[in-house]
Amino acid sequence: MRYLFKTRYQQDLALMRHGGDRMSYGLLLVVLLLIPAVLGEFYVGELGAVFIFAITGVALMLLIGYTGLVSLGHAAFLGIGAYTNAVLLEKGVPFVITLPASGATAALAGIAIGIPTLRMSGLYLAIATLAFGSIVGTVFQKWTAVTGGFDGFAVPTPTIFGFPIEGATGVYYLSLAVLLFVLWISVNLLRSPIGRAMVAIRDSEVSAQSMGINLSLYKTIAFAVSAGMTGLSGALFAHYVRFLAPDSFDILLSIQFVTIVFVGGLGSLHGAIFGALFVRLLPQAIAIVRDYLPSAIGRMPGLEPSIFGLILVLCILFEPAGIYGRWQKVKLYFNSFPMYRRTSFRRQRAYARSERLR
């Protein structure tokens, strides 16, 4: 076990808690930077997609996992980012401007949808965002002058200071950079007053308010930040798919994003990354395993959704803390071997809160 000896308050604000963290994250970064040189085009492309989904996962984690607001419309923000990026690139705007512009447009859309809907909470908010998602989907289909409708929209190749971002490798490195940026912003947010206000809103709105937190303001900020990050991810998504079709930003994609958050583990940024790995790589794994199964099972239609569903159900039943929660338990098991106790992670009984206000 490692015991941290804290002597300064700054230590609690540091990005990396100790040398071990610096070592392991540094090593991970080096491995990620070297992957395109080692693995084939297909795997690099898939990992790039994992990064893109991880960005949306982090964005949605801030909203669902930290602020407690469920959105079923994040595919719409992804679409807004993707189309903004593609349309601006087509008009000849350089990529260094279109990328932040995609984030900004999505963030503005987030504010616009946030102001009327954030007075709702829980299921009502989920349904409002679902409606928003389908409205935006329809706009993508019908506004043919800009989006090309069902004819689709070929995304031009971006260039950064004259260097074209081409192929799977280009998208891979670009997505990695944006993912690191988004993670940095998220960690910053979570260690400053806004992040704490988000957690406060999640756990108790009444007492958040009496701590001086303006609920609608902070909910809108959380929604805007989350939408903006999703917009960035959308811009990268456009380059990953290279051809935008309006029906690719549908409710199923939104549900995949929510799955990332729940399977990864609510309330942790690590969880968003694990969740993205899971959601993107499981279909590939199933496709590979299919060939080795007896044909009665391997050729069965609907194998993928059923395995997805099964894992989701098992996850919710046996590991509500998600993949990251399981990872922490495994880590503690080895750290404290042979003294690990099953009850380490069990909460004491929760005290009933009666007479909640409102």
Binding site: Y9, Q10, D12, L13, I185, N188, L189, R191, S192, P193, I194, R196, A197, V199, A200, R202, D203, S204, V206, S207, A208, Q209, S210, M211, G212, I213, N214, L215, I221, V225, G267, R347, Q348, A350, Y351, A352, R353, S354, E355, R356, L357
Partner: protein, 254 residues
């Protein structure tokens, strides 16, 4: 001099007058207790002061300012902190985070500087942390600093909620049943904390309380309510001896 005053305060929920023209003044530096049977309107008065409910009529004056129409999230910034009857802590956050949320009304950093965690934000965070550590030392919460609220025993949660209110650095502290759910010893300890808050920190306290031993131990003046009306006001001994108050609690013709 009065720090807080309620003037002819009234609120109706449908046909029920939960609070009916209640007036009282709280002097700077005193502990003012509100007692009364269940449903007398004690917690409703707290919710009116913290602006969660809107009064039907009447005025609330704090520190020479009319706060009757101030939005609820501004109340903390004015210097009024509160605790809740059934503990409203942020249960999936650590004690430290909960106390830091108490510092929220003192946070001045812009959204942009927080997103980038500029040096100014970092400095502000360290100074908030110093203030929080003062409260942790005051309430002797050191050993629970990094514990999740969900893993704390009930008695400690009560103290943490008190600490979170102190982090606001309030002028007026509203304690809603500080002894509820505590055993006799814990109630006595709570009484000592309230006395320390009054004497060492100079904070004025209004508390709603059922436990008369705690009320007589700490409070300077007591107001007794029944059915939303004021029955009696005065020192703890006076109010406890008042025939109307005895009748309200025990019933009968006394």
């Amino acid at each position: 001099m009065s720090l807080f005053a309620a003037q002819e305060l009234a609120v109706r929920f449908g046909g029920i007058k939960a609070v009916d023209s209640v007036s009282f003044e709280v002097r700077q530096g005193e502990v003012f207790a509100i007692i009364g049977p269940n449903g007398a309107g004690k917690t409703t008065i707290f919710n009116l002061i913290s602006r969660i409910y809107n009064p039907t009529s009447g005025r609330l004056m704090f520190d020479g300012q009319d706060i009757t129409t101030v939005p609820p999230y501004r109340i903390a910034g004015l210097g009024i902190a509160r605790t809740f009857q059934n503990i409203e802590l942020f249960s999936n956050a650590s004690v430290l985070q909960n106390l830091l949320i108490g510092r929220h009304c003192h946070a001045r950093a812009s959204v942009g500087s927080q997103l980038l965690f500029l040096p100014s934000t970092r400095r502000a965070e360290v100074s908030h942390r110093e203030k929080v550590e003062d409260v942790i030392a005051f309430l002797e919460l050191e050993r629970y600093r990094d514990t999740l609220i969900a893993n704390l025993p009930y008695g400690v949660r009560k103290i943490v909620e008190l600490g979170r209110a102190l982090c606001i650095e309030p002028k007026l502290l509203l304690l809603d049943e500080p002894s509820s759910g505590l055993n006799v010893e814990e109630t006595e300890v709570m009484g000592f904390w309230i006395e320390d808050i009054k004497k060492d920190l100079g904070i004025t306290v209004i508390m709603v309380e059922h436990d008369m031993s705690l009320v007589s131990m700490v409070s300077d003046r007591v107001m007794a309510l029944n059915y939303g009306r004021v029955l009696a006001m005065g020192t703890p001994a006076e109010v406890q001896g008042n025939p109307d108050v005895i009748r309200a609690y025990i019933g009968g013709e006394a």
